[in-house]
Each structure stands twice: as structure tokens, then as C-alpha cells.
Symmetry: D4
Subunit: 252 residues, 8 copies
């Protein structure tokens, strides 16, 4: 039941047109969700600084364009669109301001100006993990987080990672992206004191079984403070990093 | 190279006993780690409010007691000990102040007085998930976090969960614990704006395959802002929740 | 033994041409199935309102066309053909009346006029599950069931689902279609009192392992009254929904 | 918000003590679920003939007894308790009327007198599936369904199954219980025109992988009209069979 | 329909009491299986030399004893009973002549005197596979086959196997039993020209995953002429070996 | 050591040119295999009636043609070539007499005239299993076995299978080919007294996991006398059927 | 054919008692393996310094004692016995000199005096991996290798590992033992230039799936020079380390 | 901290500009790794004879060319590039001397002249494993090892393998490459006394599950002295073989 309809109903109760008993009945079966819907959306926009997100995979170009146009008409800004092809991006670009990144297949419509805050570090094991890394990094940036990229710092050449220890230790959140054996998450988890979001990737072959090796490795991390998102889910890591990075202080 | 040895070396450089070139050589091969060790520990204690943790599984009672006594002698307080039997707990209790919780098989030695801050909500799908929930909740409490328990709020009876919506929406972190189909994480993830740590449990039978069903379910959550720890890893969730809950505000 | 041959045999028994003992012998080895075949078919047509179904996958266009022509010659109507390409559909359309639906790759030859009865609700978690949903919905419709579609009501935005609670609660059967974590089945199962048929889909990526995550999630549903069909098996769900929707009342 | 509190609020609106606007505010945040809870329960009791169910696994004897006593005090009858030991059953028996079945480890407290309706056939492949079969059969019986048991009719001796064809063909629902290769579900599915609920069991060894073989077999059944519940989930099958068996006729 | 009832029916047809049309109707729904049942059993006894087999796992001692007594009363001899404990065997022994073998947990009631024919070779990779081997070997022997045992001839010490090449090459059937990597089946398959029945065992640890490694290895054997039975299924291999060994010559 | 070289060596021993001790030394390290190779081949040709087989998958057209030409030069006839494309087949056809079957992608070079003996029945669950069935059937035929094809006799329509019971019961070997739930093997296994070779196929979708469902189903068959080959391995089944069908009688 | 029998045969050829042609025939079918057996054994003893090994798991105490006594009578020394209980060890100790290690359940009979050579480093991630580590370390020591133990140097506390960098870099072989995420192998592999043998252990819980996580992690190691043995196979690692450590130099 | 910066710091300490205490502080946080990097690289070049390796998979042609040009400018020779297409190889060839091998998709830039030492045997089960074999063999050759290829010596035709026993027994390292059932590793492991590196390949179909069958088989090898690398990881095997082959003698 939407807010104005509820108000109408209650006004009728006050006016005696509807008895309290009748109102109880109507309220019991009324769809409370529309209230919830509006509330949640506003709340989200205000508290989390998160704009709308459109998951492009499995949607036609027409569907994606349609959703974006509808959002734009309602004045929504900074709409993140993930996993879309260059062609879809170009089609969107014909209708509205659209910034597209080809490697992670991710774009943002009507990007707004917002202050970049905090520090999210995206560390990756190898160059082949780039697409997932960039999905994470750009998601975080579009949502207004300062991002530092530490790419190709896999554990087989530990010096590469250790040379950036200072950067890691001053991060508010670290996103550790790795395929193959996924050991990066544990090593980073042992070095830092902030939350670590581990992203297993499907990079590798043979017994990596499409990312299973990195996934299991990260879930079993002997380092505390590490949690894991789905294989190749750069967006999810970037989104969660934004939530954590923007945490208020306890006193505030 | 430990700090005092490093100081000796550098004093010798100043005194001319050792040339800078010789010192470079020595430093190159010096075990830098001992410095790192001390630093990390202090840092951890100061910043994260995290005391030492002893993982009891796979250790003999003798080993656990030995480690704890050694720590106590160095004055360490608030030492969390996970996954130990009642017998081991009693043996520890004969030597030092030890608080033991039987359901999650978890104890704390020399628990300190610390201010309880923030709000961590631990929500669980069913009563059978109790042991994992309590491991999470007590870990968070021992590390100094206020914890609200919402148990038995599984999604098959949605009203149970929705009646606590206010509690959920004012949490700084939510730990969602569920076995079987693990749907709780997605539903909670859709209701709140704070980070959600999902803990799959091995509760269930048949095609739950020891927690695999809940694990996969949570990793594939359609709700953003959810990350996952290992099956039954209540400790890990409580530890991470502490890290997130204690985040400084961006301005601070 | 076909019915007329059996009649011949028994007439011979009556006429004394064949002794009962000889007939026993012949009947023992006679292929009883052809009788069964005819019987079952008639029975099916009368009781279940189910026409013939041709599973198109793995059959050549020639084979599908051949089977349909043979059926049409015998006067069969309302023949459902699943999982065929647009090309095959066009080839069929050149020979007989054929209605084709591109999204679920499903068609119906010689669709009959039949009363649409009951109420089957098809609820889906996301737009990407559309093809499976439509396979279920159209199958149910072609078999003569009224279908209500509730698409994109995934549990991460619970209000979307809850706003349709009335529709759900008045359904005779609900088909819950979901990929990723498949939580929709449990939540719907907790809301309704009618049978719920859960259809896991292969929609998702990474640790969804081709639909395994949704499948396991649905099999482990904590809600009672939920059963599961194969991954992406929209047809099976629609077919079963028809059977349940058309149940006679207990009194007759 | 419970019903009487809602009535109080609305009476205050009518009396002018509370403005409609204030009531809107209160209703927005009010826990709507308690209404839902009451409603759902009543609805369930009236429409589905289903009493309360207590899942005993993972609960202590104390917890089970506590829940039952609380329910009995509220006058609830016919409470099904699944997966409890003989000891727990005896403890319950000391407090209230309790009927216990040892093979399926299932009991019923305060069983009521109800008319047994319809026909649910429980067919099983072998004697080793007995516990799961009885969990299904007794669940259905306690909920008020006439049950016919066809045990040990596995497909390796087809004549055993076929000799009961008439029983099968007059069922309103068939529950097919099988371990090992689980072929019973497909064969039964091909023989009947009513819904078939397949229950894979963990009976077998080696490559049955705890019931996986029967589960996959049943999910891939080439027979239409078959759906599947969790491995060894006799209760779920009996519960769902009750729902289907008690379907009203379309005209009614 | 049993044979005498069928005769009665046909006599009535001859006598004019029942019309052929009525008889057709009755025969259509008559349970044909009981005829089949008798026939199959006799046939089996005559052609395959196979007596009854009772699978003991999952049956109570009472059930096993009951079945055996019932069979004995009907004069059945040479009844194989698999997977029973020593206790059950002793209980059976109190009632009838019973020969029990403790290692494979297999016994035979009322063993008959029969000519031992052909040659079945049972080859095993290691001593730990003994129980499965003996289940296979004794099954074959009880069914009347000459068995040669080649134990501990694993491929890591090829000379052990090759020294028995002559024995292998004169076998009519070879049963190759192996756990761990299961390579024995391929090597034996390459040496002989007769059918090879491969039995993977659960012997091993770690990545043998309960026999999966040997199972997959044997299914993927590069040697032709090899087929596989379930993990640890010695009985199945012995039973099948009997069937193959007793094949008539093509001319006969 | 090839036969003529061995003869030379032994002649030298007789002639005193080489002492027995020296010969022992030479024989110890001599490659005995070339003898073995020749022997095995002859033996195979004589006893099993099996010609050479070339597994085409993963070989270039050049390699396949090369192998065949080399064999033809040595006078080998009836060479079976499996899993080759039409193109490769045409290339072979330019060089030698070659009969190609497109559905199973199988051909035979220089097919000989041989008496067709025995009876191998190839039964399949559905039309989609055709390619695997034909690989099995043609392999058996090319090796000289009479083959009866019973296609599309899946268990969901039991009458189709039962109408061919006589054909099945007079077979010397049955090859049961099925995808999806693979129940055909168990049902056939229960009907016949001869060895049954089960071939799981990858036909199906979703939870068939590339043939795993049928494979596990067949391995767990409750019918005795059934053994299994690799998924889609029609050749292996045909080859083994030939071995079994051609078994000599025990007396002969 | 054993050596003396071969000599007899060849002497008969020289003496003219047997023609070369007859000898060729006999040699073709002679079991060459017994020669091979003796040769291999001697060779092994001389070159690899490896004594006999008895794998105790799955053998009865009687069998183990029997094998050892037989070996001792032939004068074999330094016999390694793996995976035996303390009871078995005590029983052996009553018959012969026997050194038993309880943690890895491993013993050595008639241990010889041999020079300890080279350097094998056994590094482990945690204290819970101790049993596997000691199986590896003691195996290597008993075979005559100097072993350095670096225990509890898991990657979550990198300083612990790095402080032993010098020890690692001077090893000839490193055995890296780790459960959980198994990252140790990759990190060690990146630090050293010698062969690394990775041993995954089953230590952990939940998604470690009995060692699968560490196994996959190690197989997918991004570090070159790492190979893997079975889960918990400390013996295999120690045995292989011995082979590598004892490699001759290329010039030698 | 790079070496010159360290020297500057220490010079300042000597000059009194920086106190030892200040230097301690700076050194604690200084990135020590750049030193380490240089050291490790030199060390590697000197001791292991290993040049740089570029893993081509997942890198664009531009990235591969860029890396190679940068290396060449620093004078690096003998750079191995794995898993690149012919097109990429041709592009590289336009810029620098580049030797490309099409079957294993592997090339070497600026190949140097180096003495070929030792003996590495690469044995493979079948011709289809060729690409993986050649990746292993060429990797070993480019790194300066003499390689003997024994292809198509699968265990189903044991004579092929045994005829090369001498070659095998004189190897310093054997690389055993096999798909399907992977039995080659165990058989070879039983024949030789040197380290065996097993490479499972994805060659096969059906229940080989992309190489899983060979992988598990090899991990469970009953032969000691065998270790395993990732599925299809020919490079890893060749690289490790180089390390082992080049081991110094113990005295040296």
C-alpha cells in the first residue's frame, strides 16, 4: 500500500467512513512492500552513496537501454552497468552520456561528480586477472572511493608484494584478486589489519576447474579477516569495499 | 634482525667500526622478519583491539596449555581459544582464569575489561546452527563488540525475520549464519545497507553435502554487499565483524 | 498382442479350435504391450488433458517434421514441441499450423481450443531466467492452465515479491524459477500453502557451476511443500503443474 | 503488530487521539509480521489440514520437550516430530500422549482423529529404503491421507512393480523411494498419470556417493510429471503428497 | 494373472460363460507378472546356474534369517548371502547348514555339489583389496566356476604380474581388482583376449576419494575389452564372471 | 628381440660362438617385447576375430591416413577407424576401399567378408543416443556379430521395451545405451540372463553433468550381471560384446 | 624364468638337447619377470640406498609381522614400516629391533648405520600438520638424508617463513606440507631454486573437503619447480626427496 | 629500498646526519624487496641455468611483444614463451630472432648456445598427448637438457614400453605424460629408480572429466618416487626436470 493510499484509508477511519475493524482487515492483506520499496531506495541513496546498478549479462541491448532510459527520466545518476559488450555500450552512448571500459566490460551512465574518499587497494596475482581487477577497481571508483592498484604481485615472487607493504598497511580495505592457487589472499591477509575481500578468478587451466582451486583456497585461508565473493565477481568486491570504506566511525 | 641488533649495527656504522658498504651487505641478508614480527604484533594490538587467538583443533591439551602459559607469562590478556573440548578447558582452568562456553567449544583466558562498541547482529536460520552462531557472537563480544542475536529467523517463515527489520537496519555489520539452502544471506543482504558476512553451516543432510549447498548459495547471492567465510567458520566471521565494526570514520 | 489378434484367439478358444491350455501358452509369451500402449495413450488423453510432446533437442529438423506429420495424420492436436530452433520452426510452419515462441524455443502444432482452468503462478528471480520461465508458462498454457507471471521478484529485493503475496496465496500451484542462489523457492515455499515446483536455472557464473548452486539450494529448502525438477527444465515444471492444477477434488 | 494493538491504534485514529499522519508513520515501521504469523497459521490449519511439525535433528531432548509442551499448552494437536531417538520419544511420552515409530524415528503428539482421504501410494525399490519410506508414509497418514505401501518393487524385477499397476494407476499421488540407481521414479513416472514425488535415498555404497546417484538419476528422469525432494527426505515427500492429495477440484 | 487362474478364465471362454470380449477386457488389466515371475525364476535356475542371492547389508538379522528359512522351505539350495556380520552368520548357522567366510563377510546356505567349470582369474593390486577379491572369488566359486587367485600383482612391480601371464592368457574371464590408481585393469586388459571385469576398490586415502580415483581410471582404460562394476562390488563381478564363463559356444 | 635375432643368438649358442652365460646376459636385457608384439597380434587375430582398430580422435588426417596405408601395405584387413570426420573419411577413401558411417563417425577400411554369428542386441533409451548406439552396433557388426537394434525403448514408456522381451531374452549379449537417468540398464538387467554392457551417454542437460547421472545410475544398478563402460563409449561396448559373443562353449 | 633355469635351457641348446627353434618357443612364453625381480631389487639397493618399505595400512598385525620376519631372515636391513598402530609396533618389537615413532605412526626395523647426506628441508604451515611432516622427515632420515625441520611457518605470518630464507635457499630439496589453503608451496616455490615437493594435508574443515583445497591449490601453483604428491602422503614426499637429494652430479 | 639509497642512508648515519635510531625506523618500513629482486634474479640465472619464462595465455599479442622487447633490451637471452598462437609468434618474429613450435604453441626468443646435459626421458601414453609432451620436451631442451622422447608407449600394449626399458633405466628424470586412465606413471614409476614427474592430460572423453581421471590416478600411484603437476602442464614438468637433472652431486 503506497503512502497516499494509506493516508486516504486512515483519513476515512477518522471520518468514520471506515471502521477500525474494516481497516484492520484491509491492512492485513495490503501490500506493505511498496512502502518498503520507496523507503529502501531513499535510504540506500542517502546512506551508502550507492547509485543504481544494472547487471547486463543475459539482458538484450534493448532491455539494457530501456532500463537506463527509464532511470534517466527519473533523474537517477551514476548508474553502473556491468558485463555488457562494446556494441551495447555504443548503443547506450547514442542516447545518453556513457563512459565505457572495455577490459572489464563495465560502464557508467550519467556519472556524477563526487568526492573520492578513503583508500581501497586492489591487489592482483597476475596480468591475466586484469578484467576482474578492473571490474572491482572501477566499481569502487564510480561509487566514490580512492583506489590504488597493485597488479601482478603474485606470491611466487614475494618481493613484488612486499615492496608495496606500506601501501597495503595503510589501506582501509584490500581486494585480493587471484586465480590459479589463490594464495595471494592469505599472504595479504597476514600482512594487513583491515578487512580483506578475496576474489577468486577463473584464470588458469586443468585442475583449476574454472576457478574452484582459487575459491577453495581463499575460503580455507589461514589468515583471519578474509572473506570471499563469487569467482570472477569483481563488481561484488568493489561494491562491498565501498560499503566498508564508507563506514562511519564508532563515535560518529 | 631484531631491533637491538640493528641498533648495534648502526651504532657501529656511526662509530666507523663498520663501513656503510659492509652494513649494506649485512642488511641484505639479515632476517628482517623479526622486526616485522614485533611491529605487526604491536600494531595489531593497538589498532585492531585484537588479542591473541589460539586455534585449538588438532592440538593436544598439553600444547594448548603450554601456549597459553607462555602467553600469560608475557602478560598477554584476552586470549581467545577456539574448538577445544570441555576437558581441555578444565585443564586450562586449573592454571589460570578461564571462561569456557560449551556450545561453541570456545573459551577466553584472562579476559580483560573493555568497552563494548558498535552493533554486530548475528542472525541464524535455525536452532541447529547454534554452535556456529555462538562461536561468531562470542568471538565478537570477547573482542569488544556489542552483539545482538537474532536466532531462528530462517526464510521459510519470513515474518520472523521481517519483525526484526529495525534491528537489522541499524546494525554496523550483520553475520548471517545458515545451513541447508543458505538463503538467509541473500534475504538479509537485500534488507540492509551494511556489510553482510555469510557463514554457511554443515547443518542439514543429503544433498547439503556437508555444507556445500549453503556455501554455493551464499557465494552466488544475488544481493550485493555479501561475502562468505568457510563452512562453520563462526570464529572467522566474528573476527572480521570486529575489524569492520571498529573501522574509523573517514574523517577521523 | 494387439486387441483384434487377442479377440481372434479368444474366439478360437470359444470355437474349440484352440484349447485353453494352448491359449495360456500363447498368452504367456504374447507381447502384451501393444494393448498397454493403446490403453495408456487413450487414458492419458482423457484424464490428464495432455497432448503429445516432442522433445526437439538432439533431433534433426527432418526427424521432428517427420514425427509431427505422422501425428497430424492420426489426427493428434495440440502437439507441444520443445527446444527447437527458429529454422526448424519455420520448416514445420511450411507444412502445418504451427505457433512458435522464440525465447523459450518452444512451439505448438495444431493448437486446439480448450478452456483455461485453475491458476498456475510462474515466479522468477530475475530477467535472465526468462527463457526457462516462458518454457514453463507456455507449456502450462498450451495444456490448458491459466498462468500468472511474476517475473523479476528475486529475494534480494523482498518487497517485489511481497507485493504479490495475494497472487501467490491464491495460486493452485507455484513454479519458482531461479538461478544463482535459488533462494526464491524457499521464500515462496514459506509464503504459500499450495505445492511449489522449483526450477533451478543455469543462470549465473563462477561458483554457480552450471546451475548446481541453485539446484542444491532448492533441494535443501527449509520450506516444506517444495519439490525440484532438473536444471533449466521449464517444460517439466509446466507439465507437472498441469497435472497438479487439474487434480479432481477428493469428493469427486 | 498484533491484531489487538492494530485495533487500538485505529480506534485512536477514529477518536482523534492519533492523526492519520502519525498512524501512517507507526504503521510503516510496525512489525507487520505478527499479523502475518497469526494469519498464516490459521490459514494453514484451515486449508491444508497441516498441524505443526518439529524437526528433531540437532535439537536436544530438552529443547524438543520444551517446544512440545509449549504447543500443547496452546492446545495444538497432531504435532509431528521427526528424526528423534527412542530416548527422546520416551521422555516426551512421560509428559503427554505420544505415539512413536522406531524405524523412521518419527512420532506424533496428541494425534487427533481425522478422516483419512484420497490415496497416496508409497513405492520403494528395496527393503533397505524402509526408514525413508515409513517417514513418508507415516507423515502422510498423520496428516490424514490414506496410504498404500508398495515396498520392494525395484525395477530389476519388473514383475513385482507391474503386478501392482492397478494400485499405481488409481493413486492421486505416488511417492517413489529408491537408493542405488533410483530408476524406480522413471518407471513409475511412465506408468501413472498423477504427480510423482521422487525421494532418492542414501542406500547403497561406492559410487552412490551418499545418494548422489539416485538424486541425479531422478532429476534427469525421462518421465514427465516427476519432481524430486532431498536425499532421504521422506518427511518432505509425505508433506507435499498431503498438499497435492488434498487439492480441491477445479470447480470446487 | 497366475497360470491356473488364466486356465480357469479360458475354460470359461470355451464354456461360453465368458465372452471373448469380456476376456479381452480382463486380460488387459490382469497382472501378467506373476506368470513372468515363475518363468524367469525357472529359466534363471536352468540356464544360468545361479541360485538365489540375498544382499545382507541394511537388513536386520531377523530379516535375513526369515528370508533364508522361507527359501529353504521351498527347497532352494546354494543361497548366497552377502555383506553380513559374523553374528548374523552364527544365527543363521543355528537354523541351517551355513558356510561363512569372514574376510568378505559372505556366506552360502545349503551349498550344493556342482561341477566347477571354466576358468575365472581374480587378480588384485594389493593385499588390502583382499575382502573385495574374496567376495568376487567366492561368489564365482559358489556359482560353480573354477577360480584362480592372483593377489598382490600391482603394476608398480610389473614382474609380479608378468610372471603369471600364462595364467592370465588362458582365463575365460579376468576380474581385475584394484584401489588407488586402478591401473591394473588397463595393464591386464592389454595382456589378455578375454573379457575383463574391473572392480575399483575404496582402498587408499586422500585423493582416492573413496574409490573415485580407481573408478575413473578403470572407466577411462585405454585397453579395449574392459568394463567396470561399482566400487567394492566384488559380488557383482563374480556374478557377471559366472554368466560370461558359462556362455554356450556359438555352435551349441 | 625379434624372432630371427633370437634364432641367430641361439644358433650361436649351439655353435659355441656364444656361451650360455653370455646368452643369459643378453637375454636379460633384450627387448622381449617385439616377440610379444608379434605374438599378441597373431593371437588376437586368430582367437578374437578382432582386426586392428584406429582411434581417430586427436589425430590429424595425415596421421590417420599414414597409419592406414602402413597397415594396408602389411595386408591387414577390416581395420576399424573410430571418431573421424567426414573430411578425413573422404581423404582415406581416395587411397583405399573405405566404408564410412556418418552418424557414429566411424569407418572400416578393407572390410572383409566374415560370417556373422551369435546375437548382440543394442537397446537404446532415446533417439538422441543414436550416434553412440551406432558406434556400438557397427563395431560389433564389423567384427562379425549379428546385431539387433532396439532403439527408443526408454523406461518411461515401458511397453516399448517389454514388447521386445523375446528379442532381449534370446540375446547372447545386450548393450544398453542410455543418457539422462540411465535406468534402461537396470530394467534390461532384470529381464535378461545374459551379460549386459551398459553405456552411459552424455545426452541430456542440466544435472546430467555431461553423462555423470547415467554413469552413476548404471554403476549402482540393482540388477546383477551389468557392467559399465565410459560415457559415450559405443566402440568399447561393441568390442567387448564381440569378445563375449564369441566365447567358446565350456565343453568346446 | 629364473636365472638358473635359463642357464639350464641354454646349456641344453649348446648340448644339442634342445634346438634353437624349440628354445625360441620356450623363451617366448617364459616368465622373464623373475629375472627382472631380482635385478630390480639389487639395483635399487645399490643405487638408491632405499631399503624395503612395508605399507602397514589395511594389513593385519599378523601380516605385517610375517612380512618383516621373512625379510629379516633374508638379511634385509633398514625396513621402513608406515601407518601402523602402537599395538602393532609393540608386537613387532617383541620379535626384532624396532624403532617406532608414534606421531607419524611409522617405524623402522633393523635400522642400519648410514651416512646422512645432503639437505632436505621439511617446511609446514601449522602444528596440526605435524603427523604428515614427521612421516616425511623420518622417511627421509631413515633413508639417510639430513633433514631440517621448519614447522609452523604458514604464510599468514610471512615473517616466520622469511626468517628462515637462508635455510630454505641452501636446501637440495624442500618438502612443503600444508593443509587448508596450501599456499605455502607457492610461496616456498618462489623463494628457492631447488625442487619443491608439495604435500597437501587433510587438516582443516568445511570447504577443505578432506584436503581437496590444498591439493588443488598446490597443483595450480603459480611457482615453477613445484610438484605434488597425494593428500597426507608424507612417506611419498620423503621417499622422492631421498631420490632427488641423492642424485649424482652430471659429471659423476 | 634500493641499494644506492641504502648506501646514502648509511653514509648519513656515518656522517652523523641521521642517528642510528632514525635509521632503524626508516629501515623497518623500507621496501627491502627491490634488493631481493635483483639478488634472486642473478642467483637464478647463475645457479639454475634458467632463463626468463613468459606465460603467454591470457596476454594480448601487444603485451607479450612488449615484455619480450623490454627483456631483450636488458640483454636477456633464451626467453621461453609458452601458450602463444602462431599469429603472436609471427609478430614476435618480426622484431627479434624467434623459434616457434606449433604443436606445443611454444617459442624461444634469442635462444642461446648451451651444452646439453644429462638425460630427461619424456614418455607418453598416446599420440594425442603430443602437444603436452612437446611442451615438456622442448622446455627441457631449451633449458639445456638432453631429451629422449618415448611416445605412444601406453600400458595397454605393455611391450611397447618394456622394449625401451634400458632407455628408461638410464634416465636421470622421467616425465610420464598420459591422459585417460593415466596408468603410465605407475608402471614407469615401478620400472625406474629416478624421480618421475607425472603429467596428467585432458586427452580423453566422458568420465575423464577434463583430465581428472588421469590426475587422480597419478596422485594415487602405488609406485613410490612419483609426483604430479597440473593437468596439461608440460612446461612445469620440463622446468622441474631441468632442476632435478642439473642437481649437483652430493660431494660437489
Amino acid at each position: 500500500m503506497e503512502q497516499d493510499k494509506l493516508l486516504q484509508l486512515l483519513t476515512k477511519v477518522r471520518g468514520g467512513e471506515v471502521t477500525p475493524e474494516e481497516a484492520v482487515l484491509e491492512l492485513k492483506i495490503a501490500p506493505f512492500e511498496d512502502l518498503g520499496y520507496a523507503k529502501v531506495d531513499l535510504h540506500r541513496g542517502i546512506r551508502g552513496g550507492v547509485s543504481e546498478v544494472v547487471y547486463g549479462a543475459g539482458k538484450t541491448t534493448e532491455q539494457v537501454v530501456g532500463i537506463l532510459e527509464s532511470m534517466r527520466q527519473k533523474g537517477v545518476e551514476n548508474i553502473l552497468v556491468t558485463r555488457i559488450s562494446k556494441e551495447t555500450a555504443e548503443r547506450i552512448g547514442e542516447r545518453m552520456a556513457f563512459e565505457y571500459h572495455e577490459v572489464p566490460k563495465l560502464g557508467v551512465a550519467a556519472r556524477d561528480e563526487r568526492e573520492m574518499v578513503g583508500k581501497v587497494v586492489v591487489a592482483s596475482a597476475g596480468t591475466s586477472d586484469m578484467a576482474v581487477c578492473e571490474e572491482a577497481a572501477l566499481t569502487a571508483e564510480i561509487l566514490g572511493n580512492k583506489v590504488v592498484r597493485l597488479y601482478d604481485v603474485g606470491v611466487a615472487g614475494l618481493h613484488r608484494l612486499l615492496s608495496h607493504q606500506k601501501t597495503l598497511m595503510t589501506a582501509r580495505v584490500v581486494i585480493a584478486v587471484a586465480g590459479m592457487e589463490g594464495a595471494l589472499a592469505s599472504v595479504v591477509g597476514g600482512l594487513v589489519d583491515c578487512p580483506v575481500i578475496a576474489v577468486p578468478t577463473s584464470v588458469g587451466y586443468g585442475a583449476n576447474f574454472g576457478g574452484l582451486s582459487a575459491l577453495l583456497s581463499m575460503l580455507n585461508s589461514c589468515a583471519s579477516g578474509v572473506s570471499v565473493v563469487n569467482i570472477d565477481n569483481g563488481f561484488g568486491a568493489g561494491f562491498l569495499a565501498n560499503r566498508i570504506n564508507r563506514m562511519d566511525g564508532l563515535a560518529g
